[in-house]
């Protein structure tokens, strides 16, 4: 381990004290922040040369961001336990036999969730709840089943304190899925996030319409293009965290992101960007990710000692890593300006073509780079359109068109999405607030989902423009909770703070309503 200066130690001690005294953090949030502060004192990774100048810079110049993963990763960023195996076999470590009825199934899941780590310390994936619960759903009458599901979902919302946690339903309609949707429409919770996997042949219209109606009440589920994900990741994929496609029983070691707009600022010209700056930064980021992964696999002991691995709920050979990017829109606009050209991203063919060319270049780089611990995805990372963080300034999530510049016609917006969604098996998505006073016709959105997935969109979300639960960038927050936090009151879920930052800085409330 490399030594550090006393100055840095003192500065971190001051930060820890500040955390302890914070009036707006809950106890659990303080403990999590202090753990990060302590971790920041470690220097154990074998960092590539040149990283410091790209990573440890202010938000408007840094080219690489590691999303606060810390200096010595103690666990993979995202962990996707095979809950079905847990339902079949129980767990020795947790001293739980396989559940025999709905009561036991729900209780076992709630216990399990408390033992699934992640970068946020909360599980980013809580299971394909409809499939997990369907075998038990007829144990009790429908009213009791619904009451149990309701209590279960309230429990999750109040104890999994982070809306990066994600449940999946679909593609097939089930009674459990239907009841879960009914409960969620009534509860209007921010947690967990939910995705419905949609397949035109497997998902029937009634079930999908119910999911759409639920999304206009509680901003979820979102809709994932099942066929597209299956073709890339296989049948055993899941959607976790914001919208990340990952392997069941695996996960993602790490997620770092290229801040493309800042890389464009460094470039003298388009040529310089394409030939020098972008390749240089991608190479350093990939090697930084390699170093993080090497530590996790070879040194942290996580895969040797954690019960999830020991009992086979996860296995290291199903893990991969996510090569992220943000700010394609701003990057393209900066480069167009440097070339003395007029067109803007989302509005000119030339600008959009440049966006596609940059994505092709990132894709090609990723296909060349090999990491020995990502064999489940062919030895390569998966590209990820990162949704942004609340500190971001003038950086749009992934490949999204900046808020306030969305095309007038929804059609043009969707067509633009269809140029970019295909690059991101580990997640991308676009969000559309819907004016429900105009659109009293859920079949309207059903047609848009069907059309989108035929047109190679990967993932779309809707929410009613007047709903309390809203989708910030990928995760959900209640407007009423943001208002509490704004007035200085501590709130239960840590993502509310991110939502407050994002509504202040990223103009979430100004998204074009459709």
């Amino acid at each position: 381990m490399r030594p550090i200066t006393m100055e840095r130690v003192e500065q971190t001690r001051a930060e820890i004290l500040e955390t302890i005294k914070s009036p707006t953090l809950t106890h659990e949030q303080k403990v999590a922040v202090m753990a990060k502060e302590a971790d920041s004192l470690l220097e154990v990774l074998d960092l590539p040369e040149g990283l410091d100048e790209l990573l440890n810079e202010s938000i408007d110049t840094k080219c690489i961001c590691d999303l606060n993963e810390g200096h010595a990763p103690v666990r993979p960023r995202y962990i996707i336990p095979d809950y079905a195996k847990f339902m079949r076999e129980g767990s020795k470590f947790l001293q739980l036999d396989p559940p025999k009825d709905l009561f036991e199934a729900l209780n076992s899941l709630l216990i399990f969730y408390k033992h699934v780590p992640s970068v946020t310390n909360f599980p980013v994936y809580v299971g394909a709840l409809d499939e997990l619960l369907e075998p038990f759903i007829n144990d009790v009458d429908e009213e009791t089943a619904k009451k149990l599901l309701r209590l279960f979902m309230i429990h999750v919302d109040r104890t999994v304190l982070d809306s990066f946690s994600h449940a999946n339903i679909g593609p097939k309609p089930t009674k459990a899925g239907r009841l879960l949707l009914e409960v969620e429409a009534e509860l209007e919770h921010a947690v967990p996030n939910i995705t419905m996997k949609y397949d035109p042949e497997l998902s029937d219209d009634d079930f999908t319409l119910q999911a759409i109606k639920t999304s206009l009440r509680s901003a979820k589920p979102s809709f994932a293009n099942h066929r597209m994900f299956v073709s890339e990741l296989g049948e055993d994929y899941v959607i976790a965290s914001c919208y990340n496609g990952l392997k069941l029983g695996g996960g993602s070691y790490t997620l770092c992101r290229l801040i493309l707009s800042n890389i464009a600022k460094r470039a003298e010209s388009l040529k310089d960007f394409r030939e020098k700056q972008l390749p240089y930064v991608m190479d350093i980021m990939a090697r930084y990710m390699d170093a993080r992964i090497k530590f996790e696999v070879e040194e942290s002991g996580f895969f040797q000692n954690n019960f999830l691995a020991k009992e086979g709920f996860i296995s290291q050979d199903k893990f991969t890593a996510m090569f992220g990017m943000v700010g394609l829109a701003e990057c393209v606009n900066i480069l167009m300006e440097k070339e003395g050209k007029e067109g803007r991203y989302g509005h000119s063919k030339e600008a959009d073509d440049l966006g596609v060319a940059i994505m092709e270049q990132i894709h090609a780089f990723n296909e060349q780079h090999v990491n020995p611990y990502c064999s489940v995805t062919g030895g390569h990372f998966l590209l990820h359109a990162q949704v942004g963080i609340s500190d971001d300034r003038d950086v749009s999530p992934g490949t999204r068109i900046p808020i306030g510049e969305e095309p007038e016609e929804l059609l043009d917006h969707l067509k633009h999405c269809s140029l970019f969604h295909k690059y991101f098996p580990s997640g991308t998505g676009d969000i559309f607030p819907i004016d429900t006073t105009v659109h009293k016709n859920p079949e309207f959105l059903l047609d848009i989902i069907k059309g989108s997935f035929q047109d190679n969109l990967r993932y779309i979300s809707f929410y009613a423009s007047d709903s309390d639960v809203i989708r910030i960038t990928g995760y959900l927050v209640k407007r009423s909770e943001i208002e509490k936090l704004r007035s200085g009151v501590a709130v239960l879920q840590d993502t509310t703070e991110l939502g407050l930052g994002a509504t202040n800085n990223c103009r979430i409330e100004e998204r074009k309503v459709r």
């Binding site: 016609e409 105009v438 309207f444 047609d447």
Partner: protein, 282 residues
Amino acid sequence: MTKYPVNKIILFSSVDGPGNRTVIFLQGCNFDCKYCHNPETRSLCTGCGLCVPKCPVGALKKEEKDGITHVIFSPEKCVGCDTCIHTCPHDASPRIRYMTAAEAFEVIKKQMPYIRGVTVSGGECTLYPAFIRELFSLCKEASLSTFIDSNGTYDFASDPELMEVTDGVMLDIKAFSEKDHLAVTACDNKKVLENALFLAKRGKLFEVRTVVVPTLYDAEETILETGKLLKDHAGEVRYKIIAYRPMGVREAYSHYPVPEQAVLQGYAESLRKMGWRDIVII
């Protein structure tokens, strides 16, 4: 190839029939409804030129051709301020595009696969049955569903070719009694009611709708009598009850009171008792 006057095309609509649809609005109408919400779709431009100098961005130009004055519209300049249509004393619009059915279909194709179908509306679109027939034949080849939004004056029974390519009709019942119908539209409604029954029997009546305008006519009687007339089809047809709103209505007729929600709910309740199941209030 005959060209027809298209007032506008809405690419995605959630309110003109089932699912997501592209809607083509044709210009011109044979009714004169007092509460018309789109009066600028009623007539064809006379070329009088009054709107030309009023356009703030110079999107309109006068042009003489064969001794007749035309107004030429440049869509790329237009900022959509609607000054022209508010200026026009003839209930027309200078922003009309003349298109063949094939040209209109080219615009529709761009929305595939996001749309379920196409609706032709107006004005009164059945003033141009040849356009609809040709357009819908093209839509059918592309597996798009086809709907007509009509005031019910066209003799649908006499046009089997049109019926063949039309999946559904949304029909306005402006008023039930002849006296009221005359008061609202200045026309009688014999054909409208005949059409309602004819289309319902053929399984092609998707929706009937009535705009409730307190003091102008007896909306209660209209809704209840229409409900009765179509009671054998109450399980299949949607009834859309629309509240009068003064927005967009010509000044002389923008003074009617807006109906109360409770009154509209009451009408819906009466329809439900008659066996109507799909009732929408907007």
